[in-house]
């Protein structure tokens, strides 16, 4: 989805303005030698991209072309490389044109691939289905991420043999649990054999009710029959009524209809609105990470869920529900990469014993961004609070770690609270939060490079290109010479023209955060010297410290909003975005801006968007056309 716009400077329009002709000239100069039609190196012929029409018909080729130029993979090593400014201008032009082309054919629904429930969704669905408050999915392997970077992306939710085994075990465990636990039992056994109710009648009722909930849509006689046969089979073996029912239900919990998010496919060639039950599931898995509740199911059953006004009323109700806490957490800790605080990003325990020594503090730090975002949603505040804010989430331990006096409710200091920050606290927004500052540091020191790159990638959605192969080292220390500071070493690094192009764009923003150490504590000195927190953008704009950096980011609030929208739309759809979605993103961004950047407006615009509520027409393959 991302191409170009890869540096802050792009937003400042520093790069030369390109035209179709100048872009063709660029390709002719740098690519023709190998990719002229007879050459066609790597299976790519320039003739594919010589017409304006090709931007429309061969957008993906343009996209990969721009990415390779941007990342310096092409032209390859040994061939004369275009200057960075030309690369920026080229990729920026391609990005812009591709977006224009994508929108010229209007907003489209896009693909909605079938996907299995991920580990968290599986656990939450079992929880709600059976009123069973156990993290039963923890036995499953963690899911990798795809698309916009989330572990609910259809493309990377593959299945391995261990999944099948664990689903079988969990199904048995869940039904054994339900046999004993009062609440779960009652949720399942909505009928039991009585003098005037035969076991067959009772089983039919129980199965229908359960399958409807487990499969998250009405079931037909054909759906129920095989499960009923399992029940009868168990009865024939001499099992009692309840064990026989539970045996049949065990099968339901391993059925693909339960394990997959199934939407009846659209057999027509044209897009169409999604059926109500599929839409209920989409909304529910987006905001709750679980199956729809009775309220949502009832609206779906009444056929009213595609009504704009109904949707607008549902959303505030859903984001305020406790189940939406999981959404904030899963969305934020993957978007910001703070989930890595439990795996790879562990500050050095000898240098930072306070962090290492307190699981409670670590937990408060990890949760802070998610809880902050949750408050923005519940209170319907501006998402620009993520850049700068007068409030934060505080606890007693965070107060101490941040060395601040927060107006916390004294009786509940261990509970996270939404509190106003004192003036001049330097802690407004994500960049004041230790979770973010740690995840963009090394275990033993801060890194202006990592932090600058983190801002460009995670906040602005404009990741820098990877370092070229065989990067020269940061510079070896001469024996006896005083240790150079990180800034001195990076300054030397930037003196190398191979490095300067990127690092003069990445590093300055990182330097503005140097007052935060590698666990996010404030410092005025580093290694006995005053912290140098100054930076300068390519256009000469000078700034100092985190407060001025926040102002610079607020100047780019639309770039930030666009990135946040990309991320949340990708999360909501459970897939990577394609070029064709950029038009949807444009319309969502416009809507949110109209509504003062309100958090609920973003969620609402996503739910109301075309790809979220519709399904694309069936793609007819070339062979089928021939037939």
């Amino acid at each position: 989805m991302r191409i170009a716009l890869f540096f802050l400077t792009s937003a400042l329009s520093l790069a030369a303005v390109e035209t179709f002709d100048s872009v063709q000239a660029f390709l002719g100069t740098h690519c023709a030698k190998c990719h002229q039609d007879k050459g066609g190196a790597g299976g790519f012929k320039l003739s594919r991209v010589t017409s304006l029409e090709s931007l429309k018909t061969d957008g993906e080729k343009w996209k990969s072309l721009a990415l390779r130029v941007k990342n310096g993979e092409m032209p390859p090593k040994g061939a004369p490389a275009p200057p960075l400014d030309d690369r920026v201008a080229f990729t920026q032009w391609v990005d812009h044109e591709l977006r224009n082309q994508a929108c010229s054919s209007g907003i489209v629904a896009g693909p909605s691939p079938i996907r299995r429930l991920n580990r968290d969704e599986y656990s939450a669905t079992l929880r709600d289905l059976l009123d069973m408050h156990l993290n039963i999915g923890s036995a499953l392997p963690a899911d990798g991420a795809g698309g916009e970077g989330f572990d609910n992306a259809a493309e990377t939710l593959f299945l391995s043999p261990i999944h099948a085994e664990k689903y079988m075990d969990a199904a048995k465990f869940a039904m054994d649990f339900a046999a004993k636990e009062f609440k779960s039992h009652n949720m399942i056994f909505v009928a039991t054999p009585k003098p005037n109710v035969t076991p067959t009648q009772a089983a039919d009722k129980v199965l229908r009710r359960f399958l409807t909930r487990a499969f998250r849509r009405p079931v037909t006689d054909t759906d129920v029959a095989p499960y009923f046969a399992l029940f009868q089979n168990a009865q024939k073996q001499g099992d009692a009524f309840e064990p026989s029912v539970l045996f049949a239900l065990r099968a339901a919990l391993v059925s693909p209809m339960f394990l997959f998010r199934y939407e009846p496919p659209n057999p027509t060639p044209n897009p169409r609105p999604l059926d109500n039950f599929s839409l209920a599931s989409r909304i529910s898995y987006f905001l709750w990470g679980s199956m729809p509740d009775e309220f949502l199911t009832d609206i779906a059953a009444a056929g009213k869920l595609q009504d704009d006004e109904v949707l607008k009323q549902i959303i505030p109700r859903m984001v305020k529900n406790d189940r939406a806490l999981g959404f904030s957490q899963r969305f934020m800790d993957q978007w910001l990469r703070t989930r890595e605080l439990t795996t790879d990003k562990i500050p050095d325990d000898k240098l930072f014993p306070g962090y290492a020594g307190s699981e409670d503090l670590r937990s408060d730090i990890r949760l802070q961004p998610a809880l902050f975002f949750r408050e923005l949603l519940v209170r319907n505040l501006s998402v620009l609070n993520l850049i700068d804010s007068t409030h934060t989430i505080g606890t007693g331990l965070l107060e101490k770690h941040l060395d601040l006096k927060l107006p916390l409710n004294a009786g509940a200091k261990s509970q996270p609270q939404w509190v106003e920050l004192p003036k001049g606290s330097n802690r407004g927004g994500l960049l004041g939060m230790p979770a973010v500052l740690i995840v963009s540091s090394y275990p033993y020191r801060t890194s202006p490079v990592l932090r600058g790159a983190w801002i460009l990638d995670s906040m602005l959605g404009t990741p820098p290109p990877p370092p070229p192969p065989n990067v020269p080292p940061l510079g070896e220390e001469k024996a006896g010479a005083p240790a150079a500071s990180v800034r001195e070493r990076l300054t030397r690094h930037r003196a190398d023209p191979n490095c300067a192009g990127c690092h003069s764009r990445i590093d300055p923003m990182g330097f503005a955060l140097e007052n935060y150490d590698a666990v996010g504590k404030w410092r005025d000195q580093d290694g006995g010297k005053p912290v140098d927190n100054t930076g300068e953008l390519l256009d000469g704009t000078k700034f100092q410290g985190p407060e001025e950096l926040r102002k610079i980011l607020l100047d780019r609030k639309d770039l930030f909003l666009r990135n946040l929208t990309n991320k949340m739309l990708g999360f909501a759809l459970g897939r990577g975005l394609t070029l064709k979605d950029s038009c949807t993103v444009d319309s969502i961004v416009a809507r949110v801006k109209e509504k003062d950047y309100k958090a609920q407006a973003l969620v609402e615009a996503i739910v109301l968007s075309v790809p979220f509520r519709n399904q694309a027409g069936m793609v007819v393959s070339k062979e089928q056309v021939k037939k």
């Binding site: 593959f158 399992l230 693909p256 990469r337 990741p463 990877p466």
Partner: protein, 440 residues
């Protein structure tokens, strides 16, 4: 069961043999001969090259400082130099290299939408012996799948977290909890026992028909996912029915498993965690519950802290970018050597397990790999590769095979497939079996 041991074969050697006898050998070879095992170990982030490289070639070689923990096992060890993985060239510094270490294919650059690699070596072997043991293969690790996509280089980190690939589009998820591994081995070894198994088969049959119905309705691209479901459920069903039906020759564990001896599910640190996983591979092999395993010491770009090692203060990936600094190189080597020690631990363990007239190690091939030589430069030439075990005598071990520069790694794999009894004409970009690898 009428087992044909090596001794019966020798006894019968002088006798004039009729065809039926030969047929009976052919029919029972798989069950009767000592089973061969294969395991691959992946260490992230490459090696300190000078400290890794062994001096001398052929049988007359000296173990390098990093490989010194293997010195007393020399007759079972083969060290390889100058192998490279051409298809792991370019792309980026880690994901392309790591994902290709057992496939020797170039992965497709994607954030997920069109994951593509090749079938990995372990899975080629597993597919060959899948029906002979309860579990076709074990995929193990100590860290969960890496989080997110790497937008800077444009790859999903799923690539960096999997070396075992069932097919081009499907990596195999790893188990990281040692207790779960033991329980899994136990259950697999005892599948088909008790009254539950017939019911289980019935239940699996039921859901398979749901899946078939679903498959008929979905689009072509969605069929890939439904097919994955069908294949994993089918293999489970097969295991259950095969074990509970009397018609087929039943598999018997070579060592009884006891849940009372299952390890902890919460190891106290990285070192204990790795050890327990090594133990689980040993249990799987000794009991013959599986014959194929892969183990990842970490994901690509792993920055696990090795502070538990005396003299190491930085994370793994950080020291691999040593920038020629002496202190980082020193730490890098200590981390490399620690990995070899864990490998040596398992080698010794399998060596101590008698089997037939030798031991489990002698019937195994344990491959130690990293996808980079020097991590600092993401070098995919001169890969650090060691093999332990002799595949029942097929591997000409006890030597340092120094191949011509840039010899395909896949040539080694092709030879290993031959040694395993799963020979193929080619494996990925192989050009022929690595000379010197096989006996005779």
């Amino acid at each position: 069961m009428n087992r044909l041991s090596r001794r019966t074969l020798l006894k019968g050697a002088g006798v004039a043999l009729g065809l039926p006898w030969l047929e009976s050998i052919a029919a029972t070879t798989a069950g009767a001969a000592n089973p061969k095992r294969f395991a691959a170990f992946y260490m992230p982030n490459g090696v300190n090259v000078p400290m890794w490289t062994c001096e001398g070639t052929g049988r007359d070689f000296k173990f390098s400082p990093t490989l010194s923990p293997l010195a007393d096992l020399k007759d079972q060890i083969t060290v390889f130099s100058n192998l490279y993985n051409l298809n792991s060239k370019g792309g980026d510094g880690h994901y392309v290299k790591e994902a290709a270490i057992l496939t020797c294919q170039t992965i497709k650059k994607t954030q997920g939408a069109d994951l593509a690699n090749g079938v990995s070596l372990d899975q080629v072997i597993a597919q060959k012996v899948a029906r002979e043991t309860p579990l076709p293969s074990l995929e193990l690790g100590v860290t969960p799948v890496a989080i997110g996509v790497d937008a800077v280089v444009g790859y999903t980190r799923v690539y960096g977290s999997h070396i075992a690939w069932a097919n081009a589009n499907t990596p195999l998820a790893r188990e990281i909890n040692p207790r779960s591994v033991y329980e899994r081995l136990f259950r697999a070894a005892n599948a088909g026992k008790g009254s539950g198994s017939k019911q289980e088969a019935l239940l699996l049959d039921r859901v398979l028909s749901d899946a078939k119905r679903l498959r008929a309705q979905v689009s072509a691209s969605d069929k890939i996912r439904v097919d994955e479901y069908l294949s994993v459920v089918r293999s489970l069903e097969e295991r259950v029915t095969r074990a509970s039906s009397g018609t087929q020759q039943p598999w018997k564990p070579k060592m009884a498993l006891d849940l009372k001896t299952a390890p902890t599910d919460q190891p106290t640190g990285h070192a204990e965690h790795v050890r327990l996983m090594m133990d689980m591979i040993a249990v799987g092999f000794q009991s013959d519950t599986t014959r194929v395993a892969t183990f990842m010491f970490g994901n690509a770009v792993s920055n696990v802290s090795f502070r538990f090692l005396e003299g190491v203060s930085a994370g793994h990936h950080d020291v691999s970018h040593h920038q020629k600094e002496e202190d980082k190189l020193r730490q890098y080597q200590l981390i490399n050597k620690w990995h070899i020690e864990q490998y040596a631990y398992l080698i010794r363990k399998l060596k101590a397990m008698p089997e037939g007239e030798s031991n489990v190690l002698d019937n195994s091939m344990l491959l130690f790999t990293s996808a980079l030589s020097d991590g600092n430069s993401h070098n995919w030439h001169k890969l650090p590769i060691v093999l332990a075990g002799r595949a029942g005598g097929r591997i000409d071990s006890g030597q340092h095979i120094v191949s011509p520069d840039d010899t395909p790694l896949s040539n080694l794999y092709l030879g290993m497939l031959e040694a395993y009894g799963a020979s193929q004409e080619r494996f990925a970009d192989s050009t022929g079996i690595l000379p010197g690898l096989l006996k005779g």
